[in-house]
Amino acid sequence: MSQTPLVEMIGIEKHFGGVRAVDHVSLELYPGEVVGVLGHNGAGKSCLMRILSGAMVPTAGEIRVNGQPVKFDDPTDARDAGIETIYQTLALADHLDAPANLFLGRELKTRFGNLDDARMLKESRKVLARLNPNFKNLADPVSSLSGGQRQVIAIARAIYFDTKVLIMDEPTAALGPSETAMVADLIRQLRAEGIGILLVSHDMHDVFELCNRVVVMNKGSLVGAHDIEEVTKDDILSLIVKGELPADWTARNLEMSL
């Protein structure tokens, strides 16, 4: 991949008092690739993703989008740059219906500045039908919907607005098998469309199924960045747990390339 990366994070640091939650991490993401972001809870991956999504301001470091340095002060800045995030909690307002959630913070308005609910409903119906043709409960508050339907709304919200980079935090953790398959399918489709995806996941199966590359974090540092072909599940587990590859990894990979 010789193109410009969609996103580069260079020497990102985030300190909380004396704690280095993210310690000099660099990461890039190219169009059409899925990068798995792995690590223990508290390894700093959520923190890193929150920085990229604008929900957290880094202590130091630089973010570049299409080669241009940018500064994200809040989530709106990141969204304007084409970086969308699907949070593990889905970040939905339970009392509002699907269209209101889909357009929350970016409401469509009529000429008089009123909310254009009719158009928002129409657009929501379109994008939701693309994800799940069975989705009919557009007027219900999202609290009354199933986990899968809520996930569909969160995804729809992330892909509706000219998205270039998608951050997915544990997108399948709360889903049943058929819904997980749906999300996996969607990820493949988005990848084919040239969107770059950062996939935070604990599910090794998903990671090997979907990712081109993996990066592993341990205690705030980046301890490994590998193409998916050059590592095994055990290699990744070793990186996650011990922060280093198994002793025989170099030998094995030399063998492979010989």
């Binding site: 999504s53 929900a55 809040d74 989530p75 709106t76 969204r79 995030t85 949070y87 909690t89 889905l90 970040a91 939905l92 307002a93 339970d94 009392h95 509002l96 209101a100 959630n101 929350l104 913070g105 970016r106 409401e107 308005k109 500045g113 009123n114 909310l115 693309r130 994800l131 799940n132 043709p133 069975n134 989705f135 009919k136 409960n137 219900d140 508050p141 919907l145 199933s146 899968g148 339907q149 569909v152 919200r157 058929s178 819904e179 398959a181 749906m182 996996a184 399918d185 969607l186 489709q189």
Partner: protein, 344 residues
């Protein structure tokens, strides 16, 4: 889109979904029914209850609770509470009266009163969002400060002799028909629609439209529903909350002007415990103290339930102490129903 995406995510087993109204509507419907029952009950107990003059009295009394309740509803939907409205009402009324005494015409003076209320609301909002003080504590502080300031400014004495123009907002009426009798006394043929009631109607309609059709209204609901989600979605949560507190303060100021104008006297000790009536009106009308839920129409029903309870119990000769007990019980019952609704 590929085949696998046709995953089953629909909850198919909801055949009656279209027939059963949502819980918010049920709540408002039951409140409306309660209101009608109260009206029927009181008119049976006291024939004077349904008379034109008493109906107008109820309308007047309710307009103050209603104005406070509308602002309170906005704050409650954001997940907050505003305990300062009773005191802000007094401070605003006193401010208006002092301006009138200083020679300011009544119109601008009342504008000043509303602005004082809005200013108090802005401080509430800033303390809640920027200093991160819980709304209960922040507005409790404002409740004491505004009341203290009103008493300090007036030396705890009412300001009277404010002139006829000052009393027009509270005592005037649209379409009043008066006929001079041969004996020289005027006879009121139709007492007209009181200005406070018209004001309440306009404010209620405006607030309902704001919550329903404007972006800030949508954001008020989103903030109360899930503050973190709203923030991550790009809603300016702090600004939204400040907006709600400013509205509550401004409407308390307006209510203060209406009340003081009605009395043609500015009473620094007026409006004690009114915040509780306003909260009760909102909660009876279906607003949830945990945020995200509430409507202006519901609060209007709630305000009329309280206004009619007060008036009807008065007419039936029930003591003010018993009235407190009854209204307290009604508020608890309303919150209990709200809890049941959320538990299901």
């Amino acid at each position: 889109m590929s085949q696998a995406i046709k995953a089953e995510t629909g909850r198919a087993a909801r055949p009656l979904a279209g027939l059963i109204p949502d819980p918010g509507k049920i709540h408002r419907l039951s409140a409306l029914l309660t209101l009608l029952l109260l009206i029927v009950g009181f008119s049976l107990a006291s024939p004077a209850f349904l008379s034109v003059s008493n109906s107008l009295t109820v309308l007047l009394q309710t307009s103050v609770i209603g104005l406070l309740g509308i602002g309170m509803t906005m704050v409650i939907i954001t997940g907050g509470i505003d305990l300062s409205v009773g005191s802000v009402l007094a401070l605003s009324g006193v401010g208006t009266a002092m301006a009138v005494k200083a020679g300011v015409p009544v119109g601008p003076a009342m504008g000043l009163g509303v602005a004082i209320g809005a200013f108090c609301g802005a401080i509430n909002g800033l303390v809640v969002t920027k200093a991160r003080i819980p709304p209960f504590v922040a507005t409790l502080g404002m409740m004491l400060m505004a009341r203290g300031l009103a008493l300090q400014l007036t030396g705890a004495a009412p300001i009277s002799q404010l002139g006829e123009a000052f009393g027009r907002l509270g005592n005037g009426a649209l379409f009043r028909v008066v006929e001079m009798q041969p004996n020289g006394f005027p006879k009121v043929i139709f007492p007209g629609v009181p200005y406070p009631a018209i004001l309440l109607l306009i404010v209620a309609a405006g607030a309902a439209c704001l919550l329903r059709y404007r972006q800030v209204g949508r954001h008020i609901y989103a903030t109360g529903s899930n503050e973190e989600a709203a923030r991550l979605s790009g809603v300016r949560v702090d600004r939204t909350k400040i907006y709600a507190y400013v509205m509550s303060g401004a409407l308390a100021g307006l209510a203060g002007n209406v009340l003081m104008s009605r009395l043609v006297t500015a009473q620094p000790s007026e409006g004690v415990m009114y915040e509780l009536d306003a909260i009760a009106a909102a909660v009876i009308g279906g607003a949830s103290l945990s945020g995200g839920v509430g409507t202006v129409s519901g609060t209007m029903i709630g305000a009329f339930i309280i206004g009619i309870l007060r008036n009807g119990l008065n007419m039936a000769g029930v003591s003010a102490f018993i009235q407190q007990i009854v209204i307290g019980a009604v508020v608890i019952a309303a919150v209990w129903i709200d809890q049941l609704r959320n538990r299901r």
